[in-house]
């Protein structure tokens, strides 16, 4: 028996601890303050990068506190859990009282509470309380949803109210926060986030997970039919577009283009356009590709644009002979300098020896040679790979319903309130003293103004004599 007392005592203390708004305030401020850390220290980079950046001592301290992935550190997660418990306990603790107010039928009114209000209105009317009551009642019941008349110790009184249910708004907000946290947890347990690079014309059913760098198999195959990048005149990218086909076994089941902001969803898995790149090339892979060449003649200054094919001869303008592009190097060494991608072409003049020239694409590099003409590659058929982000998050539905509930909850809690008025009529000789008092759960100033307006309106009513 005694032991039970002690444990229930502990439970009570614990309950009390979690019902305090002070705890909420402390938690919210701690979350705000600690969250700053992760915006100053870049998150989830390699250990060696951190070591380099902060040195050994700081690195060890930061590592110990989990600052390199702080939003998933035990102490940050612990704060979120305590906040969740705090919200649940607080809500449960207050809900029973709210429940009684909302669902008591008929609603309870206490005239002495209204009499005590400091901002109540009063006026005197030249009619009897009974007369006034009969003409006030329809006006008040029209403005409020519910009204009733009661005899009081001093006279007669009309109670009215509306928006009792809005007291539930705050609980809707709190449930929405819980949904967000639960949805986030659910997604982190049952979802994944990975990426894969697929060359044009290839397919894969394996992706790499971002967090652990592990390989994960999908139960379908993604094929990249083609990739396209287009640019604005300024050179800024306009659009990245991947043509994808989903294969089940060897059977294509879905073909669609994706662009940034317009992903493909298949079997609960989302496929996003994320990055791209060009495939490494060599003389073999380039064979037969279309190349656009531009020749600038030194003698005439004329510019000639020619479509050529890798590995095939083409005529030089102004009868200067023939030209062939026969090699491609991904990182060419030009007189001791690495100059990146180059085409290597050979000039076969009408007279004289063949001459090899180096042509980095999209550049006027060949002008430096000072030959009879300068050649540049203005365009060539490139083969790309598409970088796809692959995610699965079964928690999204929970999170989204949390979003919707949160917005609805805010609209109710911030802009609606439970409003109650009491109009008491007390006989004072031939006349009647009318008291108009109102209270609201929120926006007390607004309620004051409303009460004043109601009072003015009632004062202007003159019951017609029978």
């Amino acid at each position: 028996m005694e032991r039970e007392d002690i444990s229930s005592n502990y439970f009570e203390k614990l309950w009390k601890f979690f019902t305090s708004v002070r705890l909420t305030v402390v938690l919210l401020l701690s979350l705000a303050a600690t969250s700053v850390i992760g915006t100053v220290i870049p998150q989830n980079e390699s250990n060696s990068a951190y070591f380099q950046e902060y040195g050994e001592v700081l690195y060890r301290i930061f590592y110990g506190f989990g600052f390199f992935d702080m939003y998933h550190s035990w102490w940050f997660q612990a704060m979120l859990i305590i906040l969740t418990v705090n919200i649940v306990v607080c809500s449960l603790d207050r809900l029973s009282a709210t429940w009684k107010i909302i669902f008591s039928n008929p609603p309870k009114f206490n005239v002495s509470r209204f009499r005590k209000l400091s901002n109540k209105e009063e006026f005197t009317a030249d009619y009897s309380p009974e007369q006034l009551k009969d003409s006030y009642k329809p006006v008040i019941s029209k403005a409020f949803g519910y009204s009733r008349v009661e005899e009081t110790d001093e006279g007669v009184c009309i109670f009215a109210e509306k928006g009792r249910w809005t007291r539930l708004g705050v609980y809707i907000v709190h449930i929405s926060v819980i949904l967000l946290l639960v949805g986030g947890l659910f997604g982190s347990i049952f979802g994944f986030e990975g990426f894969v690079n697929i060359p044009e014309g290839s397919a894969t059913d394996h992706i790499r997970l971002r967090k652990t760098s592990q390989i994960k198999a999908l139960d379908f195959t993604i094929q990249c039919d083609k990739f396209n990048v287009s640019f604005y005149d300024s050179g800024a990218p306009r659009e990245y577009r991947s043509g994808l086909t989903i294969l089940e076994g060897d059977k294509p089941v879905l073909t669609r283009d994706i662009i940034v902001n317009d992903p493909l969803r298949y079997k609960g898995i989302n496929i996003f356009q994320s990055s791209y790149g060009t495939m490494p090339e060599n003389a073999d892979s380039m064979k037969g590709r279309a190349i656009t060449l531009s020749f600038t003649s030194n003698a005439t200054g004329m510019v000639y644009i020619k479509k050529a094919v890798f590995g095939k001869k083409t005529d030089l303008p102004e009868n200067m002979g023939k030209f062939i592009i026969k090699d491609f190097d991904n990182d060419y060494n030009f007189r001791g300098h690495k100059i990146g991608k180059v085409f290597i072409g050979t000039v076969l003049p009408t007279e004289g020896e063949p001459l090899d020239i180096v042509i980095p694409p999209f550049s006027n590099f060949d002008r430096m040679r000072g030959g009879d003409f300068a050649v540049s590659v203005t365009a060539y058929e490139q083969h790309y790979y598409t970088g796809l982000q692959i995610t699965k998050d079964p928690g999204v539905l929970i999170v989204y319903s949390g979003f919707i509930m949160m917005i609805i909850g805010f609209l109710i809690t911030f802009f609606m309130s439970h409003r109650r008025v009491c109009v008491e009529m007390t006989a004072a000789g031939e006349k009647t003293t009318v008291m108009v008092a109102g209270m609201a759960t929120k926006n007390k100033m607004g309620m004051e103004i409303r009460t004043k307006k109601l009072s003015q309106r009632l004062a202007g009513i003159h019951p017609s004599p029978y």
């Binding site: 915006t39 604005y232 300024s234 940034v260 999170v399 911030f414």
Partner: protein
């Protein structure tokens, strides 16, 4: 003449409005206050016209977009929302002293956009990541939230000035609204701001999920918006606590606005996905 020139002119109209509000407050004159309201309305009209004009300019250039895509455009929109929200407050509470604390903020935002030498006000086509209808919803709601917080900040400053002068000696504070009205107004503005900040974060999350596959990735701007959200959530809960009325809440509102400013400007110094806001 183009939209940027119009908006530069609007900067000076906002400046004039702010000066008139301050004159009306310091010298306790009615007329400058009334003129200030009119001038603010003209500035709002010009600001809105500049916004729409820029929109149509982008269409004429062949890549129309709602001009809410970079720092310049967001500042233009920010001053518009501050001024509009302020005018609604003035209309509702019939008090022009607040104007002396609210319109300077609209002026400063616009001045930063129009006069800062590093500001890029060119109309540029959108990069692929920004091509989404969510962009408009996200930016509009965020800035409505920010403007609510901006005005709450102005009113909190008034509250703090008022509270420091306990004997009511300062003649400057004579026409300030009552302290409890200022307190209530701050609360109203913060509820408004909090609703829109939340919707802004939500639309951003939905957009991120449709663009990148994650609704939350703890990038610095996201995190700072959440820090701001935590601070204002603290404000809303602290009101329920004994001993937290008045000054402490006003300070919290000031700190909250500092967090808003850091979310808006400071985060660009940190690396992250929102780098196009530069």
């Amino acid at each position: 003449m183009n939209s940027s020139v119009l908006l530069s002119i609007v900067t000076f109209v906002y400046c004039l409005a702010a000066v008139l509000y301050i004159i009306a407050w310091v010298f306790k004159k009615k007329l400058p206050g009334k003129v200030a309201t009119g001038v603010t309305m003209i500035a709002v009209a010009g600001n809105l016209a500049g916004f729409i004009w820029r929109w149509s300019e982008s269409h004429k250039m062949g890549f129309g977009y709602v001009p809410l895509s970079n720092l310049y455009e967001s500042l233009v929109f920010f001053s518009l929302t501050i001024a509009v929200v302020y005018l609604v407050v003035e209309h509702t509470y019939k008090n022009r002293v607040i104007g002396a604390f609210a319109t300077p903020l609209a002026f400063l935002a616009m001045a930063y956009a129009s006069l800062s030498p590093n500001m890029n006000n060119q109309i540029r086509p959108l990069i692929p990541a920004l091509k989404s209808d969510w962009l408009t919803a996200h930016v509009i709601t965020c800035f409505l939230g920010y403007s609510g917080f901006a005005i709450a900040f102005g009113i909190s400053l008034m509250y703090l000035f008022k509270q420091r002068d306990t004997q009511g000696k300062s003649r400057l504070l004579l026409h300030f609204p009552e302290a409890n009205l200022l307190d209530e107004l701050t609360h109203q503005m913060i509820m408004f701001g909090f609703l829109f900040l939340s919707v802004g974060i939500i639309t951003g999350a939905v957009w991120a999920n449709s663009a990148w596959g994650t609704y939350w990735s703890w990038d610095p701007k996201e995190t700072w918006s959440l820090i701001t959200w935590f601070i204002y959530a603290t404000f809303l809960h602290a009101r329920l606590m004994r001993g937290w009325h008045g000054n402490r809440l006003a300070y919290l509102s000031v700190i909250g606005f500092a967090a808003v400013l850091f979310t808006y400007f400071g985060v660009n110094l940190l690396p992250g996905l929102h780098s196009y806001g530069k």
